[in-house]
Symmetry: C2
Subunit: 408 residues, 2 copies
Amino acid sequence: MKKATVFERTRISTEKIAVAKWACGIEWSAIQEMMWIGSRPGVLSLALGLPEIEFFPAKEYAKAVERVLENDPLAMQYGVPFEPLKSHVVTLMGQRGVECNERQIFLTTGAQQGMALLSHLLLDHGGAVICEETIYTGFQQAIQPFNPRILCVSTSLDDGMDSEAVESILASGARPAFIYVIPDGHNPMGVSLSGDKREQLVRVAQHYAIPLIEDDPYGFLNYEAEALRPLRSLDDEMVFYIGSFSKILAPGLRVGWIVAPEAMIPKIAIVKEAVDINTATFTQRTISAYLDTGHSFGHISFLREQYKLRRDAMINALQAHLADAARWRIPTSGFFVWVELLNRVNMRELLKSAVEIENVAFIPGQAFCVNGAADSKGIRLNFSYCSIDRIEEGIARLARVIKNGTHH
Amino acid sequence: MKKATVFERTRISTEKIAVAKWACGIEWSAIQEMMWIGSRPGVLSLALGLPEIEFFPAKEYAKAVERVLENDPLAMQYGVPFEPLKSHVVTLMGQRGVECNERQIFLTTGAQQGMALLSHLLLDHGGAVICEETIYTGFQQAIQPFNPRILCVSTSLDDGMDSEAVESILASGARPAFIYVIPDGHNPMGVSLSGDKREQLVRVAQHYAIPLIEDDPYGFLNYEAEALRPLRSLDDEMVFYIGSFSKILAPGLRVGWIVAPEAMIPKIAIVKEAVDINTATFTQRTISAYLDTGHSFGHISFLREQYKLRRDAMINALQAHLADAARWRIPTSGFFVWVELLNRVNMRELLKSAVEIENVAFIPGQAFCVNGAADSKGIRLNFSYCSIDRIEEGIARLARVIKNGTHH
């Protein structure tokens, strides 16, 4: 891969075939670009949201696969959703403080598919949604084909999404298809939503009969004794909770779930059948067999401890190297620290210098802005993927680039 | 499950949450209903399109999984498409008579996702498509959210889709997003497209610059010495070929592929990222490891022989029991025999009698009609899933119901 192309949006050549209108200007996402940058040999990447490879329970999972392939010939066949896996999800949700039952669980090909299915189901072409102005690009991609009107609210670095603004938008008459929220370990800003704001969002959703989509990939990875409960624990008629095995087991399996209002499950099933028939039977049954062993309880605690050490290492390194040039909050969940630079810089140039001079990568905050042109002094740093040594080295490199100053 | 509900479309209760317009009237598909009927204990199902469980290479696949989990820590991580699997697909396509390269291969979460991705990419909301009036319901579901205008052509039981009619539609000025065709082992009608018609469709697609989507889940399972080549072998700029591991390996893995015009690959990648990020890394790598062993070459030959025996058993049973009441063609590929009854019957009643009196299930042809109300004397019978004994028994039961006549 030539260096030059890294910093240019991939251009898609004009060709004979006419594509749908929404797809005429589509481009690779910033995340996808970073995937390429991060995969260049020698680049120390704080850019992506990858779990640590060493933490995958490969041996335990291998045993589960072996058991399934020996005893369960249906594992390779088409099939209906696997009830025992739904029961495991009910148990997991209990650990998050959510009471639910198997009839409310819908299994998906990963959390991203959860978002895509719900967008398909709830959002009309040209319809409206409410979300924060700086938000996970995967969500933006999921709604993009529907050419939506995006009603933006801001995010407080102290306590998350501006729920007052959400209420004002609805009070003024807007009727969006749904409100999208990441309650814990916000991507990219790291913040968790306060208890009061959770309650306000649910109250507003109920009052105006607007569904809430609660995207919670990081909720199991909380680093404080007292984790707040998901919005779903407050309501089971308006809240669609999206969960994932990607961060607590392995993303390469692509399995997640929705805890939905029960009456909506048959409709989600119809949308699902149209997009990939069913979630891989094989993977459903092997994940279920892995969970049967009870290994995941200790494993999730282990992940919490380990990622907390990495979070702390990153915070300490920031304190040592960037205390005079940036500020940040300590995230209580998730994979990311959001760092705001005190001086205005050209982010594109900063990233370019970082990769070319110091071989370190991050994601500029503006990559997450719904309004792409928005100004942002923030950068997203990931602490889950690299070892503590590499985190310290990465922050030291980054600090050199930031303080070097050629990109101002 | 209560018997009564089997014959009623599942009703979805009214609820508080507003869904997108297209989803207001959505219902379970006929295939999904049949999945339930077929899973009732004691029902001999000739209804679904399932492969034989006994034929899955579970042992060989288990070895591949073991090898991957021991040696490849990246198998559980997020990742970019796995190049060695693309190379295997190129080799498989060579067996089908299609020359292509890795840059034209796009890996999908099964063939159904291939259809959904291409519909997303090519079809505007309210746009038009050309397909046959009796066609695979999964295709109809894939396009349904786009509220398409469906331009229908008929199917000849001798040589497939009416390519003359396709040309006329285009000559009259229509500019659909694409033409959809199943070239071999048509679902549900069993027919394969003649060489002349393949050429005409490609010529027309090129002339009018309208892409062809060639859906080929059954092409590897041809039962004659001389198989015709896919349309993709005639053109690599207008034909999107959709392939699948479901019938040649196992559907429970949910992996398929698209052989696309090369310039379209980056655009498909963007749509894909929005719907499920990437095809499960774990499954990509384990399928690739299985294919590394070379087992699949012999396995596909084995499947061809075995399914041919079942096809012949079904044809012989039809000849023995239904020669005076129905007619059919011998399919040269795929999983289905299309049987047309000589006398007009109420199909719904016939199916009801079949399941309730004789415990045998099939799918009425009208379940596949784009115009749901269309009259059809055809029924789809599957010969891949049941053993030869069960096929013979199933046809004998079916003949008793058809000749009993209470459903006329």
